[in-house]
């Protein structure tokens, strides 16, 4: 399960919308056991593309260092799909760097953003629930 505070959820979706027409991306830091995100780092898309993304390498280093300084660690990545479902593409599966991470896809294909999260390892994709933490927690995907 991925647990995202509402403010970070909104920041993530806003970063994806701002990145249009290209894919946008960023990394998530938090508690690897509970899957609770406490820091979100919007990053540049080094690929500058509507079809692929690469988290800009220096942004990634800064995020990793900041997370470590804060006593936490990177636990996942998010990126947008501008014209397709919120489901990992074959490229996402092939290049998933860490099986312990959460892989969030934000689809902007329809009028409302669709946010889903997955665990990816050994070529296998398993969807997990996303819970937005606010005054009343709202499950946005199962």
């Amino acid at each position: 399960m991925l647990r995202l505070p509402r403010a970070l959820y909104l920041q993530m979706v806003a970063h994806c919308i701002t990145g249009l027409p290209e894919e946008a991306c960023g990394v998530l830091a938090g508690d690897p056991v509970s899957g609770t995100v406490d820091r979100l780092y919007p990053t540049r898309n080094e690929a500058a593309s509507a079809r692929v993304y690469t988290v800009e390498s220096r942004d990634l280093l800064q995020a990793d260092r900041d997370a470590e300084r804060s006593g936490t660690q990177l636990i996942g990545v998010f990126h947008s799909h501008t014209h397709t479902d919120a489901y990992p593409s074959p490229t996402d599966v092939d290049q998933a760097p860490d099986p312990s991470w959460h892989y969030v896809v934000v689809s902007l294909r329809d009028s409302h953003p669709v946010v889903r999260s997955y665990r990816i390892g050994g070529g296998l994709v398993e969807e997990e629930s996303v819970v937005v933490l606010g005054q009343a927690a709202v499950a946005v995907a199962v």
């Binding site: 991306c25 990394v27 690929a47 079809r51 692929v52 993304y53 690469t54 988290v55 390498s57 220096r58 990634l60 280093l61 990793d64 660690q73 990177l74 990545v77 990126h79 990992p88 593409s89 074959p90 490229t91 996402d92 290049q95 998933a96 760097p97 860490d98 099986p99 312990s100």
Partner: protein, 93 residues
């Protein structure tokens, strides 16, 4: 001239290094650093270097704040006190 360099490992590589998050190797270039790591921790071999000895595209290697791909790649020199960081390249489609 080889110097002792601290290398920060990402979570995904720590299990190959007995759980250590920082290891120290003796090296004079980034290529040396990676070859030393592979020699000491053979489980890292396919994740750092390709069969032809070039830098694997799914790993980011930094000297202090700089990605070595923007420096001299494997020929980038390391000096006393430099910190080398490895992170998985994060990319997809």
């Amino acid at each position: 001239m080889a110097v002792a360099v601290d290398v920060r490992l990402p979570t995904v590589l720590r299990s190959q290094a007995g759980g250590q998050s920082i290891v120290t190797v003796k090296a004079s270039t980034i290529g040396d650093v990676l070859r030393e790591l592979v020699s000491e921790f053979p489980g890292m071999s396919g994740q750092l270097l390709n069969d032809d000895g070039s830098l694997h595209r799914f790993v980011n290697v930094y000297v202090n704040d700089d990605d070595v791909r923007y420096l001299e790649s494997l020929e980038t020199p390391v000096r006393e006190g430099d910190e080398v960081s490895l992170l998985p390249a994060v990319a997809g489609g």
